[in-house]
């Protein structure tokens, strides 16, 4: 083993070498960063940039270095760095660390674009430098704006449906009541044609009334405020069954359930959901007495409920269609109803952050599955 005596360099040169090496490493990291990196000194002048910054702002780097950062970020950044009577540079900086700040930046062309910047301090030889990681969030902003617009338009549609249904009720009541009055008072007193005409008018008015009430019910799911709390889904089911009392008794239906979990949801909506699904199971029954079983399993962090019946079943080609508004698979003579029930179910489920679907076989029965509420 040779005793290699390493030549010891003078101390100052040594630490200088370290400095140069660490700076080189630092520049390397900066250069490779996926966001635009801009390093700014205490006076707000740009001292270092990376290639992303050149691309984002449209300047070659020699045009960026030495430029005031306000040329590329007109306001909101430089001010935050500046020590004023109230704050030292350290304090001014400390207030911004860690916060992603949304600002407006400007390219060489003069075009403005939204950015998010994250700041971190760097103790350089000549004082505190601030490294800003700058991200162009134009796309995110556009998506946010689209979402806001979509929500607003949904809200407007819901309100429109509510107002339209609400205001339509009044003249419809007049048509409905007076045709019924005509039927009452003149049935058999005019000729047979008149009786038939009146009967059609009465029937039409009644159907329109039901449609409007269903439309109102549907729009209310969207507009009425939700109270989301931890509730007992078992209790919701029991309430729904109580509401379906006479339908259950008349059909001889047997409803069973597994032990159902507590869920985070709007209780009234969950009751309505169970009521619609089980009501359908009873209504669209086969020759056998209806049997309905309700169960729940945990799936992907949510509770997935299943309502399984032994009724008429649904053809696969209609699995999606039945959830549409006013969509029916039978004539009015076969089954009453406006076809809004499942549309309401879907709206409730979606409003509670879940999904609903059906599997079924003709004459075997159907299973409706819906998810909602985070599994606690």
């Amino acid at each position: 083993m040779t005793n290699a005596i390493t030549k010891r360099r003078p101390a100052a040169a040594d630490s200088n070498q370290q400095m140069i090496q660490s700076e080189a490493k630092y520049r390397g990291l900066l250069e490779a960063a996926p966001d635009a990196m801009v390093v700014v000194d205490e006076e707000g002048s740009i001292v270092l940039v990376n290639v992303q910054a050149e691309k984002q702002f449209g300047y070659p780097r020699d045009e960026l270095i030495g430029r005031k950062v306000t040329d590329i970020i007109p306001s909101g950044f430089a001010e935050r760095l500046v020590a004023d009577e109230l704050r030292s540079p350290e304090e001014a900086l400390a207030q911004q660390i860690g916060a992603g700040i949304e600002l407006t930046a400007m390219r060489k062309s003069g075009a403005k674009f939204p950015i998010e910047i994250m700041l971190s301090p760097f103790e350089g030889v000549d004082g505190i430098l601030v490294t800003a990681a700058i991200r162009d969030i134009s796309r995110r902003k556009a998506a946010e704006a689209d979402l806001i617009e979509l929500n607003r338009s949904n809200e407007e549609l819901s309100q429109f449906a509510y107002i339209a249904s609400h205001d339509l009720q009044e003249p419809l009541r007049m048509i409905s009541s007076y045709t019924q009055l005509l039927a009452q008072r003149y049935a058999g007193k005019l000729d047979a044609d008149a009786d038939e005409f009146i009967a059609f008018a009465v029937d039409g008015a009644e159907r329109m009334q039901r449609l409007i009430q269903d439309l109102l019910a549907y729009s209310r799911v969207g507009t009425k405020g939700m109270t989301v709390t931890l509730i007992s889904s078992q209790k919701s089911l029991d309430l729904a069954l109580a509401n379906l009392g006479s339908a259950i008794a008349d059909s001889g239906a047997r409803i069973t359930s597994d032990e159902l979990p507590p869920v985070r949801a709007d209780e009234m909506q969950l009751v309505q959901l169970f009521q619609n699904l089980i009501g359908n199971a009873i209504k669209y029954r086969s020759a056998k007495a209806p049997e309905v079983h309700v169960s729940a399993i945990q799936r992907r962090g949510k509770w997935q409920f299943a309502v399984k019946d032994n009724g008429l079943g649904i053809e696969a080609q209609y699995f999606e269609r039945i959830f549409g508004m006013f969509q029916r698979l039978h004539t009015r003579r076969e089954f009453s109803g406006t076809g809004i029930g499942l549309a309401i179910c879907r709206k409730i489920v979606e409003r509670n952050g879940g999904e609903i679907s059906v599997t079924s076989e003709i004459n075997q029965g159907s299973t409706f599955r819906f998810s909602l509420g985070a599994a606690t």
Binding site: E170, S177, Q180, Q184
Partner: protein
């Protein structure tokens, strides 16, 4: 029980002609002793109750049926006026309106309506409501006596 030999006067405050006629028909069928007086806005209602000017021969009603949505002065305001007038406050006043909103219902009771009825959409249910009004107020309940 109301002395029906004197007849029964009901003031209907309702702005829809269609509803007025329906109510008239329903009352006629429920109890022919009832004289239904009709005014079509809140200002006329107060004029009727004041028994002045054009209404100097108007009788004091045994029951007021009050719609909420009225032009010029809505039903809530009419109710407030009735309940703050010493001469009128004892007249049984029942809200009869299309709205079934909880806000309207609660407000009406807070303003001391005697009760609140939503007009049913079906004619036969509406006729049944009118029969109930007759049955409760004019055959079962005791009404305030004059003097």
């Amino acid at each position: 029980m109301k002395n029906t030999a004197m007849g029964i006067d009901v003031l209907l405050v309702e702005d829809s002609l269609g509803d007025v006629r329906l109510t008239q028909e329903a009352f006629r069928a429920a109890n022919s002793e009832i004289r239904l007086h009709v005014v079509m806005d809140g200002v006329e209602a107060l004029g009727f109750l004041a028994q002045k000017g054009a209404y100097s021969d108007a009788p004091r009603p045994d029951l007021i049926l009050l719609d909420l949505n009225l032009p010029k002065m809505n039903g809530r305001e009419v109710l407030k006026h009735i309940r703050s007038d010493d001469g009128l406050k004892s007249i049984p006043t029942v809200i009869l309106t299309t709205s079934d909103s909880a806000i309207d219902i609660n407000q009406s009771y807070t303003l001391h309506a005697n009760s609140y009825l939503s007009k049913p959409v079906h004619l036969d249910k509406f006729e049944s409501v009118v029969r109930s009004i007759n049955d409760f107020w004019f055959e079962k309940a005791q009404l305030p006596q004059a003097g």
